[in-house]
């Protein structure tokens, strides 16, 4: 009892709710990337590595651009107008470079899976392993450090106070003042829905993912559609990477995705690749992740809490499978009579 009341005290606070939104952001982006891949029929196991790569290149792109604009002058000594110009350029460059890195990574997987017909599962695993070490290598080359990019002066995406909402008690604390990437991730849910269900390309992606032979028989270029969908998958992973290294923290550290790509993939599976369902699942995972954070101050093993969403996924999948199996059995039993 005492335990529950202290847990509730920690959870029922605006700060906790705000942290859920913050933690969910990269998970949601990865999940959206997962939706695009799944919908075109490719297993994208590389969400994690793609996001990690994007996070690193966002920082590098941002820092190098900033340095170039400043022209070697220390920010502390430079003209304030030049500094703000450099900051702005750094943010834009970081966003673009990170996103492009994400797209290229996903296209690399697509090339292996679609172009070379390699096993997407193995290729995805390979990309994850490669990026785990590769990002550290590149970080060391650029920043001279194997753990963190603090020697690079990279930018941060802006934090935004929402007008009107920010003045509402509680709601304002929760929803206002988040990073722009957090709000952008919500918009992206709508964008993914729009692409999949309101455009001809989306129709083709869904058709190709479900029944490639049917799509091919009416002249749809299956490979082209899969490359497009995978580029979009990489785009959202790229956003996820930017949100990791250029918003709530402004650096890259080794392995900073910490499984968020895989959590995003689970969310996509739990939401059955529907944009809204996936978003709900992503927030659920974000909630448990945030809870694990606050429970560190209590006597419960964090690992136990972190396992909850995965156990829930497994239970959900089993129930779903049993249900559809029963349906077929019932149909057969009815016919047998």
């Amino acid at each position: 009892m005492e335990f529950l009341s202290s847990l509730f005290e920690l959870i029922f606070t605006p700060a906790f709710a705000a942290s859920v939104l913050r933690i969910t952001t990269p998970i949601l982006f990865a999940a959206l990337g997962g939706i695009m891949a799944r919908r075109c029929g490719i297993l994208n196991l590389a969400l994690e590595g793609t996001m990690l790569t994007a996070a690193l290149f966002a920082v590098i792109g941002s820092a190098l651009t900033k340095r170039a604009v400043l022209g070697g002058v220390s920010a502390a000594l430079a003209d304030p107008a030049l500094v703000s110009k450099a900051n702005f350029a750094g943010i834009i460059a970081g966003f673009i470079v990170g996103t492009v890195a994400g797209i290229l990574m996903a296209l690399f997987l697509a090339y292996m899976a679609v172009g070379l017909k390699a096993d997407a599962y193995l290729a995805g695993l390979a990309i994850n392993t490669m990026t785990t070490g590769g990002t550290v290598f590149i970080l060391y080359m650029v920043a001279g450090d194997k753990g963190i990019s603090s020697s690079l002066d990279s930018g941060s995406m802006p934090f935004i106070d929402l007008p009107i909402i920010k003045d509402i008690p509680i709601l304002g604390e929760i929803f206002s003042g988040q990073n722009i990437m957090t709000y952008f991730s919500w918009i992206c849910v709508a964008i993914v829905y729009f692409i999949l269900f309101k455009t001809a390309t989306g129709l083709r992606i869904r058709a190709v993912g479900e029944t490639p032979s049917a799509a091919e028989s009416v002249g749809v270029n299956v490979k082209k559609v899969q490359y497009i969908a995978m580029a979009l998958s990489g785009l959202f992973c790229g956003f996820g990477g930017v949100s990791l290294s250029m918003s709530y923290v402004q650096f890259f550290s080794r392995g900073m995705t910490a499984g968020k790509g895989f959590i995003g993939m689970s969310a996509m599976n739990l939401g059955n690749a529907s944009p809204v369902g996936t978003a709900v699942a992503a927030f659920l995972f974000g909630f448990f992740d945030a809870m694990a954070n606050v429970m560190q101050s209590m006597s419960i093993p964090v690992q136990f809490v972190q396992a909850i969403p995965y156990v829930a996924t497994l239970v959900g999948l089993v129930v779903f499978a049993i249900q559809s199996d029963n349906k077929v059995k019932k149909l057969k039993a009815k016919q047998a009579k």
Binding site: R204, E210, S213, A214, V220, L331
Partner: protein, 517 residues
């Protein structure tokens, strides 16, 4: 004078493995007719249509469409020239709506977005024009099979098909849906469309088609106005016997019942019954042949007996032991051997050695093990003996099975299945696609097994084989037994063909005799 819309002139198609699928086939259809293309499995119908549709290249001959010689480089090319095809396996995306399936690949757009309402309009317009009733907004996965087929037809028509090829369209339909389809096809014909109708079912062709072309063994053996020929004529043209391989055998001396199948019912995942309330028995020392056009339940029966497929109703017993709930090993322990029609999936493990394939049904038995180790000496000796006895051509018992020819792979399967003193052998297409020598060998062994007192159920598409080997015959038609022919030696392929195609059927009393109750 009818106008010829399509001529396939002296088409010859040889597959890379040397199999001649079509030899000098001439196929001509007139504008506005429904033309039936008939033939047994493997007669070359599908190959001919694949050639027309641009899926398969051909070696000799020419295709003349509306007076112009054409050669299609693929289905899209064919579609662009007004040739549409409704495949046996539907090319539809289940989770999309009917309208979305219809316009896929040529989506209407408005302001850069997919215009769903326009897609619905296009679909409904075609549905009304051709009198095909289907809800454009429904999801395809929710539709019954008959309506899915209509969606396929609408798809082809919207893309401008003038010639519509339907590959065994009624195979998946209920009688009511079939009747509905026929009304719609006749309506299409009145509007000037030309239809090629592929089917095995004589009464359907009689009811629907104007003219008929019959293929047998890759050659066209007949062309006629449907009105001028009887069903018997057609069946005679379709089922002709070729080279006869004689098997010496004495009359059977059947003893007690070994396999007893009673009121067996098997339902497909679609909910359609594939095997419908059949009862039969196989006795010790006899070969019961099971004839039938493929897809009339024979495969499911053999899989149900051997434990590969569940069944919903009825009983199967071997020597008085009910097989319900028994594992495949338990069924095998009762002395049931299975020569599967699918050699590469159930018959043999292609990447495993000859020895391992033979060992796979007996590795756990005491005689092949000493302690926790396998007894290599005994195993090698057993394997080498079988290789010798069954004339398996391989360099070594450790050769991978995939290195062997089809006939030798089948000999490996047969060596395993025939050498464990079976009480019952289920032989499903035991000689399909293998050379004459191996065929003869396997047939001889089957008769020997029978003489040693094994009960044999022989399922085959090769009428020759059935008539030569079987002591008695049952004929399957649409999941039921259409006939029981007690003495196979007095049956002709003609009569067999008529039962297979449903021209003739026996009374339930005559059929019930095969239960020997």
């Amino acid at each position: 004078m009818p106008e010829e819309i399509l001529l396939m002139d002296k088409i010859t198609k040889v597959y890379p493995n040397g199999f001649v699928a079509n030899k000098d086939v001439t196929f001509s259809i007139n504008k506005g007719e429904i033309h039936a293309l008939m033939g047994e499995n493997g007669a070359g119908k599908s190959t001919l249509m694949k050639i027309l549709f641009g899926i398969e290249p051909f070696e000799e001959g020419r295709i003349v469409l509306k007076g112009k010689e054409v050669r299609f480089n693929g289905p899209l090319d064919a579609i662009a020239n007004g040739v549409g095809m409704v495949h046996q396996h539907f090319m539809l995306v289940p989770s999309l709506t009917v309208a979305e399936n219809v316009v896929l690949g040529m989506e209407p757009k408005k302001g850069g977005m997919f215009d769903f309402e326009e897609a619905v309009r296009i679909t409904e317009e075609a549905c009304n024009k051709y009198n095909l009733k289907v809800d454009a907004r429904a999801k395809v996965e929710d539709l019954p099979v008959g309506n899915k087929q209509k969606v396929e037809i609408v798809k082809a028509l919207v893309r401008g098909a003038e010639i519509l090829i339907l590959d065994e369209p009624t195979a998946v339909l209920t009688p009511q849906e079939t009747a509905e389809l026929f009304v719609e096809l006749k309506h299409l014909k009145e509007q000037g469309h030309t239809i090629v109708f592929i089917s095995h079912k004589l009464h359907e062709i009689k009811a629907l088609c104007d003219r008929i072309t019959i293929l047998r063994l890759g050659k066209s053996v007949g062309k006629a106005n449907v009105a001028d020929v009887t069903e018997q004529d057609i069946s005679r043209m379709m089922v002709g016997r070729d080279v006869v391989l004689k098997v010496d055998k004495t009359p059977a001396k059947p003893e007690e019942t070994v396999l007893k199948v009673r009121d067996l019912k098997i339902i497909a995942d679609t909910g359609k019954p594939i095997v419908n309330d059949i009862s039969f028995s196989v006795r010790k020392g006899e070969i019961l042949g099971m004839a039938g056009v493929e897809g009339n339940g024979q495969s499911q029966i053999s899989e149900a007996i051997t434990g590969l497929l569940g069944y919903q109703h009825g009983t199967i017993s071997v020597n008085g032991v009910d097989l319900k709930g028994k594992s495949i090993r338990q069924i095998r322990e009762l002395g049931v051997s299975h020569v599967s029609e699918d050699r590469n999936t159930y018959g043999a493990a292609l990447v495993a050695s000859v020895k391992d394939n033979i060992l796979s049904d007996r590795y756990y038995k005491k005689e092949y093990n000493s302690g926790i180790m396998m007894n290599d000496k005994v195993i090698n000796e057993m394997t080498d003996n079988l290789i010798k006895e069954f004339l398996i051509k391989c360099d070594d018992r450790d050769d991978q099975v995939k290195m062997l020819s089809g006939g030798n792979v089948q000999k490996v399967v047969v060596a395993r299945e025939f050498s464990n003193k079976p009480a019952l052998v289920i032989a499903n297409q035991p000689t399909r696609g293998i050379d004459v020598g191996a065929t003869e060998f396997i047939r001889k062994r089957l008769v020997e097994l029978r003489d040693e007192g094994t009960a044999v159920l022989l399922i085959s598409a090769d009428l020759n084989e059935l008539l030569e080997l079987s002591d008695s015959l049952i004929v399957m038609n649409e999941g039921r037994i259409a006939a029981y022919l007690e003495d196979a030696s007095v049956i002709t392929d003609m009569i067999l063909g008529e039962y297979m195609l449903g021209v003739r059927t026996q009374t339930p009393e005559e059929i019930a005799r095969v239960a020997y109750d």
